[in-house]
């Protein structure tokens, strides 16, 4: 009975959610595809129970506290503070509504399209039930005092939190390098490591080079987000408004991901809705998606604690690796033709990616990027990320696919095709490498994606009492920068990634990511031949410690077994396959999942077991999509009726 009630409640939420989100612009399939995601138990993912943060010059308005003209009843932050916990005053520090709009992208509950053109683009938030706490800094501009206040505000809400920062600061001097050495960037990275906070920072944009707010976009430990714009109705082009003239100095690139930031429909102050532009609005898409993943993890940790689901799933490095590794690069629909090739990449080989991302010129793709060609002879191994798009376009649906298998420790045996791990290196050199052996064979011609992230270490130059807390007057120790290719790797333990044929050595690696200037490695590589593979996490040096914590996420495609139940061979087990089974039931072998030469109830059972799975997930121990469960629930009467009808003919036994 309890289960039935549960199901009805779930069905209600699924129905309501589907109606509330069906036409969403930036959170639907043409956006980040976060709408309709569900927990393991099928309940909607909405950020419930998850804390997220927001830091900028102002704070969002609080309905019932600030005036109705300034607040929006659909945007209900949990709390708002000034700086490090000072009380707010009504209608002050609202910064022209910007913080309210940013908050709305994350937590708006508005699913009505009242005041905008009737296009159905209601400004519903990505994680409307998340608890948003805001902390506004009080000093504008670029000065040491302004940097101090920013860090104080961030520290106040950072603990274990995912913090959106749709803001930025000028450099102290125009000639300062963007090398992560400013007191602000040092402070932001220190907060990440000290409080295990995921800092999501809006990237640079706009044409005038004289008005950049580049700090702390040169951070190492968080994520810097550029904005995407629509192309053909889909958010998949790097916005022409992003500005890369103030990218991180040297070979390091600043951008982690792109997300919708162009023509974003939002809930504003009062009852207004409007369309806005900016990386300000791209960043909260990422922050709120992280909140959805956190909610998924918390439910698993509570209800199914295991080696797969524990505290490690909360680490900011894990979120960063998962979000980046699951980003879209090329649409996996069998139409993408790589430059110089004549044939498209067959469907199912591009890990189920949902859009082809193009650069600012509207044409170039990942294949034209410096970051492409991670083969052992390619230049891409030195450039983990693309300057414009980072790892690609945020996709919440794929991020959940990436996250759902749970933590997979390399010490526990072979790992599934999709997974992630929070690990620690055990020293330098190949012999100490952490080796992740992938279960089964990888399909030749398919792509594999692997992302490795870790923190740089930031220490105090001056740490007043109370120690190990940032106090006014404290300062951080910059590193010595030769200015040639900053940063030199003395501030990080340098890690590398290698893809190796199973049982091989680094000397026999087929692909690698071996940049020495940042704290991200990323391989996106086409498997040359079907076979067994493993990837290695190698610590190259020990500049800041003999071991190094890291997170790694991976996604590969299995060469087998065949995806049972995928009767139409489109790479996914769904209702279309059921139709094939029904039309062949008892009369042919076109829906023969068990290989016994007929189409019968056993084949249906295999279809049922794999419902919702894709070719890429078959070996990942993933569970069926809740949407597929809904489909099954809706189809059940039809299936039963069909089966009863067939069985009544007496030709088969149930």
């Amino acid at each position: 009975m309890k289960g039935a009630v549960h199901f009805v409640v779930w069905l209600f939420f699924a129905f309501v959610a589907a109606h509330a989100i069906a036409s969403q612009d930036t959170i639907g399939p043409d956006g980040i595809n976060s709408a309709g995601l569900t927990l393991f138990n099928g309940m909607p993912l909405n950020g419930s129970g998850v804390d997220i943060g927001q830091v900028e010059e102002g704070r969002p308005a609080l309905p019932g506290y600030d005036s109705p003209a300034n607040s929006n009843s659909f945007v209900q932050p949990h709390a708002a503070y000034i700086q490090n916990g000072q009380d707010i005053k009504p209608d002050m520090n609202l910064d022209a509504g910007h913080p309210t709009i940013v908050a709305g992208i994350m937590i708006s509950t508005d699913n009505h399209d009242d005041t905008m053109p009737p296009n159905g683009d209601a400004p519903l938030g990505i994680a409307p039930m998340a608890r948003l706490t805001s902390s506004a800094y009080v000093t504008a501009g670029g000065s040491l005092a302004a940097y101090r206040d920013y860090i104080l505000a961030l520290q106040f809400i950072a603990n274990g939190n995912y913090v959106n920062q749709s803001t930025g600061k000028p450099k102290l001097s125009p000639g300062d390098l963007l090398d992560g050495n400013s007191q602000l960037t040092l402070g932001v990275d220190w907060v990440a490591q000290r409080y295990d906070a995921l800092n999501v920072v809006a990237g640079n944009q706009g044409q005038p080079t004289s008005q950049m707010l580049p700090l702390p976009t040169d951070q190492f430990n968080g994520m810097t987000i550029a904005r995407s714009q629509k192309l053909g109705g889909v958010y998949r082009q790097v916005s022409t408004q992003n500005n890369y003239t103030e990218d991180a100095d040297g070979e390091r690139t600043s951008i982690s991901l792109i997300a919708p930031g162009d023509g974003v429909e939002v809930a504003g102050p009062g009852t207004s809705e409007s369309i806005v532009n900016g990386t300000s609005y791209a960043a909260p898409h990422v922050t709120a998606t992280a909140a959805l993943l956190r909610q998924y993890a918390e439910e698993r940790i509570t209800n199914a604690p295991s080696a797969l689901w524990g505290p490690n799933s909360r680490h900011h490095q894990v979120m960063k690796a998962v979000l980046m590794n699951s980003a879209d690069k090329m649409k996996d629909d069998g139409t993408f033709i790589p430059p110089g090739e004549t044939n498209p990449i067959p469907q199912g080989r591009l890990l189920g990616m949902e859009r082809t991302v193009v650069m600012q010129d509207g044409i170039s793709t990942w294949f034209n990027s410096d970051a492409y060609d991670d083969s052992i002879d390619g230049q891409g191994q030195f450039f983990p990320l693309d300057e414009q798009m980072g790892a690609g376009h945020l996709n919440a649906h794929r991020a959940l696919e990436q996250f759902r298998p749970g933590e997979r420790d390399f010490n526990a045996g072979e790992v599934p095709m999709i997974g992630w791990d929070y690990g620690t290196t055990s020293g330098t050199g190949d012999l100490n490498a952490n080796r992740y052996q992938l279960q089964g064979n990888l399909l030749g011609g398919s792509f594999v994606s692997i992302t490795l992230v870790w923190d740089r270490q930031v220490t105090f130059a001056s740490d007043t009492v109370p120690k190990n807390i940032y106090n006014s007057g404290d300062s951080f120790a910059p590193y010595s920068d030769d200015g040639i290719n900053p940063p030199d790797d003395s501030i990080i333990n340098d890690l590398s990634l290698y893809l190796v044929e199973k049982g091989g050595s680094i000397a026999q690696a087929v692909a690698a990511s071996i940049s020495s200037v940042g704290t991200v490695e990323h391989i996106f590589f086409q498997i040359p031949e079907t076979g067994g593979y493993e990837f290695w996490v190698v610590q190259e040096d020990d500049d800041v410690g003999s071991t190094q914590d890291y997170a790694v996420a991976w996604w590969a495609m299995s060469a087998g077994p065949m995806l049972g139940g995928d009767f139409n061979n489109d790479g996914i087990v769904n209702a279309a396959d059921l139709a094939v089974w029904q039309s062949n039931f008892g009369s042919g072998s076109a829906a023969d999942a068990d290989g016994d030469g007929d189409t019968d109830g056993n084949d249906f059972a295999i279809w049922q077991r794999n419902l919702g799975m894709t070719a890429a997930t078959i070996n990942s121990a993933a569970v069926p999509e809740p949407a597929a469960l809904l489909l099954l629930a809706l189809c059940a009467p039809l299936i039963l009726r069909r089966r009863v009808a067939v069985f009544s003919e007496g030709s088969l036994t149930p």
């Binding site: 900028e56 910007h98 905008m116 930025g168 706009g206 005038p208 004289s210």
Partner: protein
Amino acid sequence: MVPVRTLAIAFAVLAVSAAAALADDKPVKIPLKEVWALNMPETRDIRQLDAVRNDPALLESLRRALKPKLDAKQASMGFVVLGEGNDALRTAHEVLVGGDKPRVRLPAGQKITAVFFSYESPFYVHLDEVIRKECAIRITYRFVPHETKETTEQIALIPLGELAAGKYSVRVELNAMDKKYAEQGFSTPSKADALRIVCRAFHFIVVDN
């Protein structure tokens, strides 16, 4: 003999004419509170125009049209339209969104509105003042930085009223950024930046019917 009374009247007429002529020479300041604008302080919110309230897409499509091209070195010129308020906005929409060529010749005796705009950028562009002296119109503005990572575009409908026949020139001039922003570390945009972001100077002619 000319009667004294006649002389007095003639003198009075001359005096009034002279005063009127002097008045024409004096600069006329157009109050910002009479300007319909988007994202500009002291002006009237353009979103309160009936044309926008009844059809929000009108303004949104206009805003979308103010997206700069990646390689554009300079913005388009400002322009004038017939009418004020709602009518002016609709005509401005036809130019900026519909691609209509703005009118250069306009009839005397009808209300005219100057359309000032700036493309999407990481600055606010705020009008400082609009002054007309005879056939010369000067629009001054300033850039205002903000620490939010948003980009904004601005548009202002500046009512010029009924203008006498003549050849008019409209100058668009950049004022210095407030000192406080420089003290906070914000750089003043270059002239090249301004040229790309803000509509350029333009001319128009008013002719007698």
